[in-house]
């Protein structure tokens, strides 16, 4: 339920191309065959009363309020389960059906508390609405009969209550959990009058429930109710905005009571999520008003000094004068900055502009460096566009899906639900991942093939898949001949057919049986529509870029590009990874992925910006950190990234930070990086921002200010002030103007403006004269680069090897309830589900080491060590261990190494040789800032 009601047609739309004309209450309407009478009526704006029907669930036919009369038919069929037929004459308001509706409602109310006035859902309750609609005036049964009024309330979920006494057993929650979310955590228990909704066990918290909120959303009464609504009351205004967690980019209705956010409700018209949500976006927004948030700027001369709260003016003046003096002393190249894929496109654009125009260098990089930079590189090389090829909806047309190095049910849950829906309808699944992720086999989903390769052997695997396609005549010759560069293809074909790429040889590298590889390749290649989705398990390797190109090769060779249901689709980690990359925050590229050495492009920017720009690439993040340690790089501006926790080899990162003369951090919280900062600019949460995020499907979504900025300033305003203090003015008065400038200089964005987005909801770039409504699927007629470019993808193993001292391979990832470095989710009740990083280890490896379930273990690599609890599970194969990096106290990146992708320097988070041993105690609260680091800091 929610305040702003989107139209509910009662039953899902039919995708039939055949039309049927019917007459409803004397009016004619033509609808697709397969449409329900209820939906057809609603299309005529005739609302038939209903309780169990809602248009994101299949019709069910249980409430019996929607009965109608149909000429020539016996009885009173339910309009939700009755499909239109040619010439059908329907009457929705007859004495007979009105009587049935009223009498059915009377039965409902005879077993429902009479507490509307004190009910949290008062005014937002479909049962209440329907009682009014059918004109119920009395309950002749009385209230002393058998009932459920004394049923207990389950308060166990931290975000919502389940008040059984108010349940009308419409099964919408159960069906939402099944059909929308795909978790099947709810059921109806018992039968007949005793039927009740049940999470299958003791309570919601101990059940399989992932707290996505779909059930709460589906509930027509106050049975499943947000605790925040119970506590704060019904909201009274709505702002439509975009979630700031993962790269799915869900649209939400932020519902407020005055200035206080009461709840976030997924928006049905949101293109990415179509009304669905996950536990993070739906419920974990409390961090935005957490007391830890810093609201005033702070400065200090040295990092050993305490912070001093100052005015914005003083902080900006302090930062600017330091930057200027550093540049005059150490040179123009001695400073730089990092943009954030947590921030809006406009904020990112402003930062890179400041660096290029005011700093006068190209030392700008983005945190996408450490996640998806290989995607940008690899897809640009092969397809000509640094982005995924499809929209999320496309998966509904896929017949075979390959997931490589991604764990969508945890990291991209809303998209995972969509994918699971398709899988339940019969699409086949292939999983390439060392771990047995949930999608390999979990309720109602089972992969046809799981290829549990050894971490670090992706490229060998993708080559083997390509080898099977090339040697077993599974190539889509029509596609290759017409769409791809044939010279490049021939080179690739000759390369891929070499015996070294055969499954039999690759079996010895990956550990995956050759026959499984062959079977998976055949399945994908023979699919009508084959789609590949991948995540950081592809990119965060020393051959990340090679792997991305290998994936692109496979898709092209099998003709799986350029239509719905196919494609190569990176699942972006953070909300605006795509956008941050699009906005020109790589050191070698302007917005729209155009190299800084391109004189025409550069001149365009120089003219518009009124500044001289450098034509050589600047430094990447690891280059900057390296240079800092050497002493060449002295100051950095970091917006919205916590490199001291998120970047690999923490010790090295901290040493670099400690070596700098000036570190400026802009963030919501004093994070790990801020320990090394001299200037702290408070940042805004997504609830305060005004701008756009671009999600993994290139969808540009509006982020609207739900409330006023708690710091008094937007990030781009701070950047503009700093830039001005450095001598370069940006004359923006709104973030909309920044987007206008982006549109002016970026060919794929020329059709984008806030006004347009407000009108159409969202668009997927390219959005320009050629594609005014955006581009859901790319490379339809031809590739962006013209002909698709096959690339030779030689497998060069990582230098990180297991040794006798470090015999296990560590790989890292996320859990559902936590997010990234945990800065937000740790400050919410999401920690109820995961309150610490755990080390997953196979029972046989654990036994060998005397490691026991739930006990402390020391995890050590050649660069560092940490302590965390062990979780014994066969989800990881022997020889591989796994953990998350959500908690600074664990600081998993203390372990990860300096190795990185050869082409983009994306760190090799996914392969670290480690050893695990039992430990007597856990980590100390701040072990992360150990003595040596403090000593180091003092020396600076």
């Amino acid at each position: 339920m929610s305040l702003l009601k989107e139209t509910d047609f009662g039953t899902p739309a039919s995708d039939s191309t055949e039309n049927v004309t019917v007459i409803i209450d004397g009016r004619e309407i033509t609808v697709p065959a397969g449409t329900s009478v209820m939906r057809a009526a609603k299309m005529l704006e005739t609302t038939i009363p209903k309780l169990c029907a809602t248009d994101n669930l299949n019709s069910f036919g249980s409430c019996r309020l929607c009965v109608v009369e149909i000429d020539g038919r016996k009885g009173t069929p339910a309009s939700c389960t009755t499909l239109v037929e040619p010439g059908m004459v329907v009457r929705t308001q007859t004495q007979k059906v009105e009587k049935i509706r009223k009498n059915v409602m009377e039965l409902y109310i005879s077993d429902h508390p009479l507490d509307c006035l004190t009910c949290p859902a008062n005014g937002d309750c479909e049962l209440q609405d329907m009682a009014g609609v059918v004109g119920l005036r009395e309950v002749r049964y009385g209230y002393e009969g058998k009932n459920h009024l004394a049923s207990p309330t389950d308060y166990s979920n931290p975000y919502f209550n389940f008040d059984e006494s108010k349940c009308i057993v419409c099964s919408r929650c159960v069906r939402a959990c099944e059909e929308v979310q795909g978790t099947f955590a709810l059921t109806i228990e018992g039968r007949g009058f005793d039927s009740k909704v049940s999470p299958g066990g003791k309570d919601f918290l101990s059940s399989e429930c992932v707290s996505c909120g779909a059930c709460v959303q589906a509930c027509p009464t106050s049975t499943l109710q947000e605790k925040s609504v119970v506590d704060l009351g019904m909201p009274n205004r709505t702002v439509i905005t975009t979630c700031a967690y993962c790269g799915v980019g869900c649209s939400f209705k932020a519902e407020l009571r005055g200035d206080e956010l009461v709840r976030m409700v997924p928006h049905k018209d949101g293109g990415a999520n179509e009304g669905h949500s996950c536990v993070k976006g739906r419920f974990a927004w409390g961090y935005a008003s957490h007391p830890d948030r810093v609201l005033l700027p702070k400065i200090r001369e040295s990092i050993t000094e305490p912070w001093r709260e100052v005015t914005w003016e003083e902080a900006i003046e302090f930062a600017a004068s330091k930057l200027k003096s550093i540049q005059s002393k150490y040179g123009q190249q001695s400073i730089g900055g990092i943009t954030s894929s947590r921030c809006t496109n406009e904020e990112v654009y402003a930062v890179q502009k400041m660096i290029r125009a005011a700093f006068g260098n190209n030392n700008v990089d983005t945190c996408a460096r450490v996640c998806h930079s290989p995607t940008g590189y690899g897809l640009k090389q092969t397809f000509g566009a640094s982005a995924g090829t499809q929209d999320f909806k496309s998966v509904e047309k896929s017949d075979v899906i390959i997931i490589i190095g991604a764990n969508p049910t945890d990291a991209h849950p809303v998209f995972a639900s969509r994918m699971k829906k398709r899988l339940r309808k019969g699409a086949k699944l292939i999983i390439v991942d060392p771990r047995r992720i949930d999608l390999v086999r979990s309720a109602h989903v089972e992969a046809s093939h799981h290829l549990p390769l050894l971490p670090g052997t992706n490229v060998a695997m993708i080559n083997a898949l390509g080898h099977v396609v090339a040697t077993e005549n599974l190539i889509d010759w029509d596609f290759v001949n017409s769409r791809c560069d044939l010279n490049a293809f021939k080179k690739w074909e000759a390369f891929i057919k070499q015996p070294e790429n055969s499954p039999e040889v690759v079996e010895t590298i990956t550990g995956v049986p050759a026959e499984e590889i062959r079977a998976a390749a055949r399945l994908y290649a023979s699919a009508k529509n084959g789609a590949i989705y991948y995540g950081l398990g592809v990119t965060e390797h020393s051959q990340g870029s090679t792997m991305v190109m290998g994936i692109a090769n496979l898709a092209m060779a099998t003709g799986n590009i350029g239509r719905e249901g196919v494609g190569v689709n990176p699942l972006r980690g953070q909300n605006n990874v795509q956008g941050a990359c699009d906005m020109g925050s790589f050191p070698h590229e302007f917005s729209g992925y155009r190299h800084v050495s391109d004189d025409v492009v550069r001149e365009q920017f120089e003219n518009l910006w009124g500044a001289t720009l450098q034509k050589e690439p600047g430094m990447r993040i690891p280059n900057m950190l390296d240079a800092a340690i050497v002493g060449d790089f002295k100051a950095i501006f970091i917006q919205g990234e916590d490199i001291a926790q998120s970047d690999p080899n923490t010790k090295h990162v901290k040493a670099a930070l400690a070596s700098m003369a000036l570190v400026i951090v802009q963030d919501l919280f004093i994070n790990e990086t801020a320990q090394f900062a001299h200037v702290f600019f408070p940042g805004t949460s997504f609830l305060e921002k005004d701008g756009t995020f671009t999600n993994a499907e290139r969808r540009i979504n509006r982020v609207r200010p739900v409330m006023a900025s708690k710091t008094g300033k937007q990030e781009w305003e701070v950047v503009a002030l700093l830039s001005k203090a450095l001598g370069y003015e940006m004359n923006y008065t709104t973030s909309a103007e920044i987007m206008d400038e982006i549109a002016q200089v970026t060919p794929s964005f020329t059709g984008v403006s806030f006004a347009h987005l407000d009108k159409v909801g969202s668009v997927q770039w390219p959005c320009n004269e050629a594609n005014p409504n955006g581009t859901p699927v790319m490379h339809i007629e031809q590739f962006v680069r013209g002909k698709g470019q096959f690339m030779e993808t030689h497998f060069v193993p990582t230098e990180e090897r297991t040794t006798r001292k470090f015999p296990l391979l560590l790989t890292t990832g996320r859990v559902l309830s936590q997010y990234n470095v945990g800065a937000q989710t740790r400050r919410t009740k999401n920690s109820t589900w995961a309150s610490e990083d755990l080390l997953q280890i196979h029972p046989s490896d654990a036994e060998l080491r005397g490691v026991k379930e739930g006990e402390w273990v020391k995890l050590a690599s050649r660069v560092g060590e940490t302590t965390l609890r062990a979780q014994l599970t066969s989800a990881v194969p022997p020889g591989v261990v796994y953990t998350t990096f959500h908690f600074p106290v664990t600081g998993a990146n203390v372990i990860t190494t300096e190795y990185s992708d050869w082409a983009t320097n994306c760190p090799e988070y996914k392969v670290t040789a480690v050893e695990v041993m039992p430990s007597l105690s856990g980590p100390t609260e701040k072990s992360i800032l150990d003595k040596s680091e403090k000593a180091l800091a003092k020396n600076v």
């Binding site: 019709s59 039965l107 005879s110 002749r140």
Partner: protein, 520 residues
């Protein structure tokens, strides 16, 4: 000299009154006397008041003795029942016994006659002839023949079987199923059970014919767990049929493939409703599905599925064997062929009566039932199971076919006829109808889920003299809501017994007849 054949039923009703013990005793006593007998465990002839009915094969036919108890065995032997018919329990030649003689047994032809699991017996009595005919016809010809025979669903709904089969036949799919509905949950019905226990191959043959007709390769027989003997018999029969190539990859060496599996229910009346049965067959909660889609198009595991009652499927062999004309020469109007009536409850002579449609209730009662077991007058007869109407004496002239019963506010259902004597309290029977619905409702639709419980409460109020007039009108309203508003026949038909009780037995509710009549 060959041994004398003695038939003692292994039907569970017979066993429930000691058939096994009688068999053991006869063996024992006969052995002691050095008598050369062969005991054959047949099905029941359906004359249940005579069970255990012991039959002896003679050159003139089988002569019967019943009901035989263990204590009668010695005297039977003493009086040489193997050769003489003088024992007081003797009923003479069984086939000539009036109760049986005039029946028109088509479906039940072999039940009680043969050893249920003996394939030679089965074939000796025309078994497999229908299937063999079917193998010579095209699927289209088979469905046409079944349609022309006028065979309608014997489960209660009475839908033309041939039309249903044809829908499945013409729906393209990679897999189709035949499901026999043997979830015989109606009180007062036991014909499915008796057929499965007494002549299981007939069901197998019927299902195989259906499979050939529609292109199905797999069949399921959904049997309620309350029928352990039927489950056992069917499973064994399937195994035998498989061994002899009647089932399997090549049915009777033809190009057709068909196999069968018994699926056991787990205690749910509503699983006899076809869509709930599909859910249960899929291993899920037995929740009723909304229709459409029809199971014939989108049934078991989403595939086109024929769901027919046991007796419907068991009628196919004779229809195929003897032709549509033969079958439809029985019956009247749109109710063609024979109906297996089951006379039960408080009845003097209860059991199976298979006759052409068209007989009246009165004839059935006068000719077969012969009054109540308690010897008190009949007060009411419930026809068609717990969802069927109660008929008073003045309506006993009703003709027992689909349409006539409907006209009189009743329904034929599965052909169960339950007699009640004058000690019955029809107020309590009406209450029980609601109570049964409350116990067995799947809980999906509101009228059935809440309505049945409220129905019990409102009837209680009426019976307790609370606001009689208001509560009566509320009950009538509730019945209307359940009838018109329920998702399936469970909630939709529960008002039938309630309304009929109110209408015909107003006294038992403490109501003036006129008052009840006005409102019904």
């Amino acid at each position: 000299m060959t041994s004398i054949k003695v038939f003692i039923p292994q039907d569970s009703a017979s066993k429930s009154v000691g058939a096994d013990q009688v068999a053991i005793e006869i063996l024992k006593v006969a052995a002691a006397k050095n008598l050369d007998i062969e005991i054959i465990r047949n099905g029941s002839r359906g004359m249940l008041w005579l069970e255990p009915l012991v039959e002896v094969e003679t050159k003139n036919g089988r002569v019967g003795f019943g009901p035989v108890s263990v204590s009668d065995v010695q005297s039977l032997i003493d009086q040489d029942f193997l050769n003489q018919q003088t024992h007081p329990l003797g009923i003479g030649l069984v086939d000539e016994y009036p109760w049986l003689k005039d029946q028109q047994r088509l479906t039940f032809k072999r039940v009680g006659v043969i050893d249920p699991l003996n394939i030679d017996d089965y074939q000796k009595f025309d078994g497999l002839l229908g299937l063999k005919k079917a193998l010579k016809l095209t699927p289209e010809e088979i469905t046409k023949l079944v349609t022309e025979s006028g065979l309608r669903g014997r489960g209660g709904a009475g839908f033309p079987a041939g039309i249903k089969w044809n829908t499945v036949r013409v729906t393209a799919a990679d897999q189709k199923y035949i499901c026999a509905n043997a979830d015989e949950g109606d009180s007062g019905t036991f014909a499915d059970r008796m057929l499965m226990e007494g002549d299981p191959f007939t069901l197998i043959e019927g299902m195989t014919i259906a499979a050939i007709a529609v292109g199905a390769t797999q069949g399921f027989i959904y049997i309620r767990s309350e029928y352990p003997d039927a489950i056992d018999k069917m499973q064994t029969a399937i195994k035998i049929a498989r061994e002899f190539g009647w089932l399997g990859e090549s049915v009777l060496s033809s190009s057709y493939q068909f196999d069968l599996e018994v699926v056991v229910g787990a205690g749910s009346y509503v699983c006899g409703e076809e869509t709930a049965m599909l859910e249960s067959l899929e291993g899920k909660r037995g929740m009723v599905r909304a229709k459409p889609p029809l199971p014939a198009v989108n049934g078991l595991f989403g595939k086109p599925t024929v769901i027919n009652n046991v007796l419907t499927l068991a009628s196919a062999p004779i229809i195929l064997n003897k032709g549509a004309e033969f079958y439809k020469s029985y019956g009247i109007g749109r109710s063609l062929g024979t109906q297996v009536f089951q006379i039960a409850g408080n009845v003097k002579q209860g059991g199976i009566v298979e006759l052409a449609f068209g007989i009246t209730l009165e004839e059935l009662l006068n000719k077969y039932a012969l009054g109540t077991h308690s010897a008190r007058p009949i007060k009411a007869v419930q026809i068609g199971g717990p969802l069927g109407a109660y008929f008073p004496n003045e309506l006993f002239d009703v003709q027992l076919d689909y349409e006539s019963l409907l006209q009189k506010g009743g329904m034929l259902g599965h052909g169960g006829i339950v007699l009640f004597d004058d000690s019955v309290d029809m107020g309590q029977q009406a209450r029980f109808a609601m109570e049964f619905c409350a116990v067995e409702s799947c809980g999906k639709c509101t009228p059935c889920r809440i309505g049945s419980t409220r129905g019990v409460e409102v009837i209680d109020k009426i019976l307790n003299n609370e606001n009689k007039k208001e509560n009566l009108s509320l009950l009538i309203d509730l019945c209307e809501t359940m009838t018109d508003g329920s998702l399936c026949a469970m909630g939709g038909l529960t008002p039938l017994p309630v309304r009929s009780a109110l209408k015909h037995f107003a006294d038992d509710f403490g109501l003036e007849k006129e008052m009840a009549n006005v409102t019904t």
